[in-house]
Symmetry: C2
Subunit: 508 residues, 2 copies
């Protein structure tokens, strides 16, 4: 093989893979935004064939040889080329290290598990779902042995979603985080004082909420030539290329805050994808670098910007224009307090900014123990209740609003939840570094977010998946992952909002 030929092959492989991923992503996107109910079977047949083809592209002997050949010539490759080899290798290993029949069996298992989970959740029937968790954990532990027999199995999967992340690092982070959050929540609850938020649940016509989303995209500097908004049951953002990003959102006629923060959250994801480097197009680098880093961008915009008082001040005239009756006699300051109201609750996806990470920690503790063999699926509901009581002070009445609430485990995604919390902590670290170069509050207050967008493009987004999370944090912020920024941010923000400033926070 010659080096030039190998590099050409590398580019061709990625473009070919891009085309298949494009098609499969489009079928998925269509399935949750516009397809009729009856489409399932035909789409399944098409997906199986397309999926088989992209499996062949990635998992071929030629790909393996090409990656070996190029890995042996690192010095002769550019930085992005080396990054491509690294990222493709990761995906290649993920498929090729598992015997094909085990891989197929696992796909069937998670398909069944997902179907059973849907029913179990509906019927509050944890017992039917439990055996699937045990089977999935057993498979994943076996897979971890194929991937990296030296490594702790849970670490193998944490690393899949967040390269470089380990159980130990998370334990340190979460312990600190709990010590910060739990006492603040306790003091808020003890104070018995809450900002009013009933006006957020009045009737907001969906057509107006759509206008609001369009307006928020404009505030976020999103060029709609390259980004659409569709509607779906569980909002997400998906990209086909940096010039074609699709946000999805959901409108609840009685919940204004949901519409705002769904749009701003997905807007953060979209901004990342819209600003990956032009030179990365049609390569494996044209995407976010990890789940955690992606989530850091959505949470930075949703919570740190979107729930800040300057942001509310800027968008409030538009809110009043769209909903004059519903927001009558409510000023921007009250609105800001309302969207930051803290209230321990049962369901992760409805949690407020402060309590959110505690929900993640419940799942982390359980996943850790499952992988360590300290518990099996039957023990989860009881442990769930204990942890929720311990961390959030809430009583879990049933499994539907407890251990059955999330879909992730049924799909085999263990090790995924922590990336949500890591994302928030990364966000605070990026925000802090950005504040050294940019007057963020001033930019937000002026309604022109370009300085933020420019900083993030240059420091984070333009690299796509070209840097590992650790590397990216170091280059963008000058230091390795440091959760202290997040702890400080939460403490300052919520003590201020609840008027607890100056008081000593008690250790948790």
């Amino acid at each position: 093989m010659e080096l030039n030929k190998a590099l050409e092959d590398l580019a061709a492989l990625q473009k070919e893979y891009f085309a298949f991923q494009y098609a499969e992503a489009m079928l998925y996107y269509d399935s949750v935004t516009g397809a009729p109910e009856g489409a399932t079977q035909g789409r399944g047949e098409a997906m199986a064939i397309l999926g088989g083809r992209d499996f062949e592209i990635l998992a071929s002997a030629h790909t393996g040889e090409l990656l070996d050949y190029l890995a042996a010539r690192r010095a002769a490759l550019s930085e992005p080329q080396n990054a491509q080899v690294r990222v493709i290798r990761r995906e290649y290993d993920q498929i090729c290290k598992i015997p094909k029949d085990e891989y197929t069996a696992f796909t069937a298992l998670t398909n069944d598990a997902t179907a059973v989970w849907h029913r179990s959740k509906q019927e509050n029937d944890y017992a039917s779902f439990a055996p699937f968790i045990d089977k999935i954990i057993a498979s994943l532990i076996r897979f971890a042995g194929f991937y990296d027999p030296e490594k702790d199995p849970y670490d193998v999967f944490l690393d899949r979603y967040e390269p470089g992340m380990t159980k130990d690092k998370l334990e340190t982070f979460f312990t600190e985080l709990r010590r910060t959050i739990v006492p603040i929540i306790a003091r808020i609850m003890e104070s018995g004082v809450q900002p009013g938020n009933d006006f957020l649940f009045r009737e907001f016509p969906v057509e107006r909420q759509r206008e609001l989303s369009d307006y928020l995209m404009q505030v976020l500097t999103i060029d709609r030539k390259y980004c659409t908004i569709a509607e779906t049951e569980h909002p997400f953002t998906i990209e086909f290329s940096k010039h074609d990003v699709r946000i999805t959102t959901k409108y609840l006629v009685n919940n204004l805050s949901s519409a705002i923060y769904s749009a701003v959250h997905e807007g953060g994801h979209a901004l990342y994808e819209l600003h990956t480097g032009d030179d990365l197009m049609y390569t494996f680098l044209a995407r976010g670098t990890s789940m955690g880093v992606h989530e850091s961008q959505s949470r930075l915009f949703e919570n740190m910007i979107g729930r800040s008082e300057p942001f509310i001040q800027v968008v409030y005239p538009k809110l009043l224009e769209l909903f004059p009756k519903q927001l009558e006699h409510i000023d921007a300051h009250s609105f800001w307090l309302a969207v930051n109201r803290v209230e321990p609750s049962l369901v992760r996806i409805e949690a407020d900014e402060l309590t959110y990470c505690l929900h993640v920690m419940v799942r982390f503790e359980i996943e850790k123990k499952l992988f360590a063999g300290e518990i099996t699926a039957k023990d989860i509901p009881a442990l769930w209740k204990i942890l929720m009581k311990d961390y959030l002070g809430v009583e879990v009445p049933d499994d539907r609003s407890g251990a059955l609430q999330d879909s992730h485990w049924s799909g085999g995604s263990f090790g995924y939840f922590p990336s949500y919390a890591i994302g928030s902590a990364y966000a605070a670290q990026f925000y802090n570094a950005m504040s050294n170069d940019v007057d963020i509050e001033d930019a937000v207050r002026s309604g022109n977010l370009s300085p933020l967008v420019n900083w993030l493009t240059e420091k984070v987004w333009c690299f796509g998946a070209g840097k590992e999370p650790d590397e990216l944090l170091l280059s963008a912020t000058g230091e390795a992952f440091n959760p202290q920024y997040y702890l400080d941010y939460l403490k300052n923000k919520f003590e201020h909002i609840y008027g607890l400033d100056g008081a000593q926070s008690t250790g948790g």
Copy 2:
């Protein structure tokens, strides 16, 4: 090769092709219903790769051998298997008989031509577009030689869109049709009396028009579990499987008739696709048999059913409910007259039912002469004006509303236009045969179209592409193509509407 193995290969080939066509159709559908403007380049890259793959599937040496092997064993195959071999062979020949470099050059030529046509139409600049027509005709004549050197080149392309159709058959049909239509139009124009239709152009809120489309789908018995409605610039219907059909339509705030007949027309196409046989799924037969037959179904529902007085009587209460102000003091009879108003005009896609085919004939005459070498592109505008004056009695003021109005030629689709007119004639023949078994007016009047849907399913739709058009007409109606039904239908309908009954129609 063993027969069983060959049949397995045939099924596998079709399913594989189905998956790629599915993906490409989805990318197309997305591009005209939801994609952001910036998506073009990425989609183009993905399409090129996916298109290359499905080209390889169809145009492989293995496919050629398989088709030869099976064609030599017709007696051992079932009727649908033989039909599959026939239909796949047609598509195979269409690709494989043209040298690959000529095929590629032609694709590039039509891409350029389409771009230039868009500009030319906008700027009323026929001269820039003309050279492309000459080049396309030259290529098509060369292609016709590859396809079938014995056959008249124009016949080769007529047959592509409507298997079995020839210039001679069309000439006979069109001559008769002109003799019927032209005098009726003349008498209508001479009478100087027209039904009022100004109320069709009042303001109809789009949200209400959407409700109307949903209602019309219900009247057409379309199960929305398998069929959605999206919005686009140039409405069409596309199917992914018989359980997944997508109608697209367009709403003009000042045109109610457009919304109604776009929905009913596309509904007719959708009904066909929704009722192809279950056993045809994932084969080349799971689609309509020809352009003309497909169009016959949409026009049967649009014109023969949808513009009939019983249909208007049935849907009118809903129209009044949705648009009480706009239709105040208008009764169903006046509404029916209005949607059947005849008025010669310049633009084909805005033409009424009676004058429509004359627009098609203008294009047929020109295409015929281009293929025969009697004229070249430079002669088209003058000939267009003469024919429009002759057939429709209208003066063509410019090429934008003349020879530049349609996109078809720029895409290389010569021989396509006649299928619109053939479709209308087929529709009348099917309608007549159906009326022997079903009391159509009675069914429509009762608002229950099931008897029609059942008849058409059994006689037409269930076969998909399993029968050639001629064969289908014969089996469904008991006779070969007979345009007399269409001539009688037009004469009766429009003489009745315009009160010309009993009067002698003058020869044209």
